[in-house]
Amino acid sequence: MNDVTTQSRRKFLKKAALGSAFAGGAFSLPVLTHSEELGFPENLPESMRVPGADFSNYGQPSEHEQGVIRWISANPAAPGNGVSWTPLHDLQGTITPNGLHYERHHNGVPEIDPAKHILLIDGMVDKPLSFDVKSLMRYPMVSRTCFIECGGNSNSGWRSNPIQSKVGYAHGLVSNAEWSGVPLKLLLKEAGIRPDAKWVIAEGADGSSLNISIPLEKLLDDAILALYQNGERIRPENGYPMRLVLPGWEGILNVKWLRQLRLTDQPAMSRDETSQYTELMPDGTARQFTFINEAKSLITSPSLGMMLPDNPGVYQISGLAWSGRGKITRVEISADGGDTWVDAELQGPVLDKAFTRFCLPWKWQGEYAILQSRSTDETGYVQPDRETLIKNRGKHGFFHYNAIVSWEITEEGDINHVYGYDF
């Protein structure tokens, strides 16, 4: 009785294994008929029949994922001046891997010996202080997951024709990481803040000595002098050995390779707070000190560069939403260019000033569609459509483009970037 069961079970497994190889269609394995015991392992994948690779000191992505890269756009005459984009279309969840965090450098990635680097806090303080890396390591640290977004992210949206780039290569000057370091207020208070201090001029130790003015209020609120990024020391391209992290505020203010914080009563009017990172309005005036990245969202899948293989088929709409003003409270999805909206599910935990992943299953039956997402944050701010944004700001603002992004799905299942459609 028992014996019979075992035998028929073996036969069944052998059949099933053969069957699946056949279904795979690639090749069929020779079957050893003289020994049941040997025939079975032969049908297992190679990876189960040989020892695997050795240990590694620092793990790398699979060789099958070599195409998942930051896209670099730099100035050929000054190769350290430019950006590299996070491939948002290739990623899931909310954390950006350190090697894929977006970059904006003004003059390359500096090589800094942490043993020689100091941070100077001076200006309107009772006693100017310097901090070396070793000392900072002894301070109480906080960890905070937040996005950092370049003020110039998505700026192709201002152009008259929709750019046909994958989502990460048009909107990927934003990334989300867990930053750990010393709350800045501890260090500022140690130096003793004078009552007339209102601004802080931050300066980086890179080849552009980037300097920019930040309201003291923000540094006393939730700013971090970050030493760690997703658990490991900050990568050189993200500010090693230390950078500012100002949750929710545009990238340029999150000064990398930080060397100095000078307290003042006036902003410095540096190049990157006047010539750049200000928004020209239709009347010729410019908005200045537009620090906060307002609510935004993107459907990362399906998105341009992908296609819908099955008609009819069920597709998991998935994307990212974030706001520099707080938590995302709602993301709605439209498949008809904004006429009707359905709430997407927000994947928890929904964190303050951090990426929130949203999802919604979608049954597609070959119809022409325009997929859009629209986010709302806890202040009640609703992400604008492109028309509204342009009505309010004109077409030459360049920075802080946060309009709804539209993906056109053709009857063939191809995906294009469009600016909208009247159904």
Partner: protein, 178 residues
């Protein structure tokens, strides 16, 4: 004996933790080193604000600046400060409210002090901090004089640079705090 010491220690640690939780105080050792001397050194006083503070002594005029510009800047910014791979720095004054606004140093920047600050720290991009103070005054004079913002004959110095009024001086509206 040793058990008593251990439990005493635990109690004092417990108290410390307890008290820090109660008062929301963060317990840490301040480790900043006095840095009044460093703070005075010129390499820690790079930022030049609109009042001209931190401008080094020096002088330079447009004719001198034109020569330096041709040699050290034109390759990227174009021979007349326009039309290169890098941002245009000259021209387009008055274009900001038009249909095709162009942001150049002369059309857009609100303060001339920023020009000195930025050229010295960041340009030429392949050799930052390679220019002398006189050369930076000369380059600033050249750029500003091209649109008549200063007289072509003027010797620009640490004294008169902060007094230059840029065409778009009042063009910026602060959004913070809104």
């Amino acid at each position: 004996m040793s058990t008593a010491m251990t439990s005493n220690l635990i109690i004092s640690i417990a108290l410390l933790i307890f008290s820090s939780l109660c008062h929301a105080d963060i317990v840490y050792q301040p480790l900043g080193k006095p840095a009044a001397d460093i703070s005075k050194q010129s390499e820690w006083n790079l930022t030049i604000s609109p009042d001209g503070k931190n401008l080094p002594e020096g002088t330079g005029n447009a004719a001198q600046g034109a020569k330096i510009f041709a040699l050290q800047c034109a390759a990227c910014h174009g021979p007349e400060g326009v039309g290169g791979s890098a941002d245009p720095v000259i021209g387009e004054v008055g274009s900001l409210a038009s249909e095709y606004p162009e942001k150049t140093v002369n059309s857009y920047w609100p303060y001339a002090t920023t020009l000195f600050d930025y050229i010295r720290r960041a340009m030429p991009i392949d050799r930052p901090f390679s220019l002398s103070a006189d050369e930076v005054y000369a380059l600033s004079a050249y750029i500003l004089s091209q649109d008549g913002i200063i007289d072509a004959e003027l010797d620009l110095t640490e004294k008169n640079l902060p007094q230059v009024t840029m065409p778009n001086r009042d063009g910026f509206i602060s959004i913070y705090p809104d």
